[in-house]
């Protein structure tokens, strides 16, 4: 195939698209676009759910890197020295200690068992956006004792009867109310509710927080240990970098990145996502292939006479085949371009109108790489689908073609 042949094939393709049925061209492009959108929609949504869960886990659970007791030990020990060491490392925004302890909350007739958490509120601000999620009252201060902040779901809503509650609550505690907390070690005291928050993350929304200072009173001694330490990375530093660094500095505890942690818990979910993604990819490819195959087959059948004429005046069959090839390429490219536009519009729309459930919220998360790889897959499928009938028809002998 020389340049002249390709030029003629392209001319024939353009003219056929321009002068053929406008509506069939538009419909074909639309179908390819829909297939493309279908191919990337579910994976994009799952990506976004994954991103969302990861962000929540980072924000409210473990930061970027979690330091937990090495095996066989109950606590991360030598807390002050460890915190000082980590906080001094490059790339670390802040490291904060966390405690969690079972407790029974009592308010009027309601009794509720939860696992409460203790934090160092000021440092925690650098790690978790919890302090921005207060819906009434205020966040804890470092020295607060006898004060507690509660999740909205724990505080409860007085207008909902106990038997209709989705999650057991204290039935409508408000800021300033006093609740009784009976800690697992038997220590019991009244706490003033300082604030009520709601984060949208399940684990955080079913607990409450006190300060480390308060926990020291509960335990009856200064705490030079923690249940775990969360580490927040500075922007631009990877979790992996921080983890490696921690291990190099000789932090002898168990160090895990959020990715490590999620790989385990989300592995199963990701597997089922992968299956759904494969199905939607497969369906997209099959529909596109079949549609383009039919479109080109009909085109070739309708223009058998024209094909005969072209051959009769000396146009080689390769030129005729590439004529249809170019038509498919043009249709596929336009379809994919429309698909990318449709997907982008959906991405924008879903950013402002995400699908929200108690566990996660989803918009569309697609990288340019996702779009490119899906475009390529679809394009290749389309071209194959078009070239098969083009090849078949270009082989027909002139007599049969011309007399049709």
């Amino acid at each position: 195939m020389g340049k002249k042949e390709l030029k003629v094939a392209f001319l024939l393709a353009m003219r056929s698209l321009q002068r053929g049925s406008r509506s069939s061209v538009i419909l074909t492009i639309l179908i390819v676009a829909m297939c493309f959108t279908n191919m990337v929609f579910l994976p994009g949504m799952f990506n976004s759910i994954g991103q969302n869960i990861t962000k929540q886990v980072v924000d409210y659970e473990v930061g970027n890197v979690l330091i937990s007791p090495k095996s066989g030990e109950q606590y991360v020990t030598d807390l002050d020295a460890t915190l000082a060491l980590i906080n001094g490392m490059p790339g670390v925004e802040r490291a904060t200690p966390h405690y969690s302890k079972a407790a029974t909350l009592k308010y009027r007739q309601r009794i509720l068992g939860v696992s409460l958490r203790a934090i160092t509120p000021n440092d925690e601000k650098a790690v978790s956006p919890l302090y921005t999620k207060m819906i009434s009252g205020s966040y804890l201060g470092d020295g607060d004792t006898g004060e507690i902040i509660l999740a909205k779901m724990i505080a409860g809503d007085p207008s909902v009867k106990e038997e209709y509650e989705f999650q057991a609550s204290l039935g409508g505690v408000r800021v300033g109310d006093s609740i009784t907390v009976e800690w697992a070690n038997g220590y019991t005291k009244d706490y003033r509710v300082k604030g009520i928050y709601s984060t949208g993350y399940w684990a955080t929304d079913t607990t409450g927080y006190v300060t480390k200072s308060d926990m020291e009173l509960v335990e009856g001694r200064p705490l030079d240990y923690a249940d775990y330490i969360t580490v927040k990375a500075k922007p631009g530093y990877s979790e992996k970098f921080i983890k490696d660094e921690l291990q190099q500095y000789g932090v002898s505890q168990k160090v895990q990145t959020t990715t490590d942690l999620l790989a385990k818990s989300m592995g199963k979910a990701l597997q089922s996502y992968a299956i759904i993604n494969m199905v939607s990819l497969f369906v997209g490819i099959v529909i596109t292939t079949v549609v383009l195959f039919i479109v080109i087959t009909i085109k070739t059948l309708n223009s058998r006479k024209q094909i005969g004429i072209l051959k009769a005046i000396g146009v080689d069959k390769a030129v005729i085949m590439h004529n249809y090839g170019f038509q498919v390429i043009i249709l596929a490219l336009l379809g994919i371009a429309c698909g990318i536009i449709m997907t982008s519009l959906l991405m924008v729309y879903m950013t402002y109108n995400p699908i929200v459930t108690p566990d996660w919220s989803a918009s569309l998360y697609l990288t340019p790489m996702d779009l490119i790889s899906n475009s390529l897959i679809l394009f290749v499928a389309a071209v194959i689908a078009g070239y098969v009938p083009a090849w078949q028809v270009s082989r027909e002998d002139i007599q049969t073609a011309m007399r049709s």
Binding site: K305, Q306, I313
Partner: protein
């Protein structure tokens, strides 16, 4: 020089067998302006299709300028048509999606021995000659039958092929236009020694032919130079 040896083309449709060509042998000299005449169904188009490599004979052989057509591959046949032959079809056979100009220049666009400037100039020239230059951007369906026929003639002639086959090129033309086409054929035949094989029904066309071959039921029944045995 075209040599045809005992050419047969038999169409079989179920039990019925149509002998469209039934043992035709002919020699056509280079530079000859040959007329093929005969009643409808006598095999004229079939013969021209064989010569134009559009169909394969059931038996027999065609040799054009030393090339045995039966030995050519599909690609070689396409190239043979592109570089050596021009063909005017009985039903014009224009490409419906292409304009008049595009139809005329399409084959020239494919030829390696034509530059863009050259084939544009040639196409314009031939369209002017047949009086359709001002319709160059029209589609075939926007033209009358006669006009389409003239475009088909222009397309066949634009590359100045060694051999021009024309299947009733004047069938849809008035006598004035017919005369113009025949004059054009005579001109290129005389000036460039172009071989022309033309099928015709019209008796008065005889005056233009050097030689006339008459077919009947797929057989040559008369073969003679103009004014002699062909009558």
């Amino acid at each position: 020089m075209i040599e045809i040896y005992d050419l047969r083309r038999i169409y079989r449709m179920g039990d019925i067998e149509v002998r469209a060509l039934d043992g035709v042998s002919l020699e056509i000299e280079k530079g000859e302006f040959l007329g093929i005449m005969g009643a409808s169904g006598s095999g004229k188009t079939t013969l021209l299709h064989m010569l134009g490599l559009l169909d394969e004979p059931t038996s027999g052989r065609i040799v054009i300028e030393g090339t045995d057509l039966s030995l050519l591959s599909d690609y070689e046949k396409a190239m043979f048509r592109l570089y050596k032959l021009g063909y005017v079809f009985q039903d014009y056979a224009l490409v419906p999606d292409l304009t008049v100009m595009e139809n005329v220049s399409l084959t020239a666009m494919l030829r390696k021995d034509r530059t863009e400037g050259q084939y544009r100039k040639d196409s314009v020239e031939i369209l002017q000659k047949i009086g359709l230059y001002d319709r160059r951007d029209h589609l075939p369906r926007e033209l009358s039958g006669g006009q389409q026929q003239r475009v088909s003639i222009a397309r066949a002639m634009v590359n100045k092929p060694d051999i021009l086959f024309a299947d009733e090129p004047c069938a849809n033309l008035d006598s004035e236009n017919s005369r113009m086409v025949l004059e054009l054929f005579r001109e290129i035949n005389e000036e460039m020694q172009q071989t022309i094989v033309m099928v015709s029904h019209e008796d008065w066309h005889k005056d233009y032919f050097h030689r006339i071959v008459r077919l009947k039921d797929g057989k040559v029944i008369a073969d003679g130079t103009n004014g002699s045995s062909a009558h």
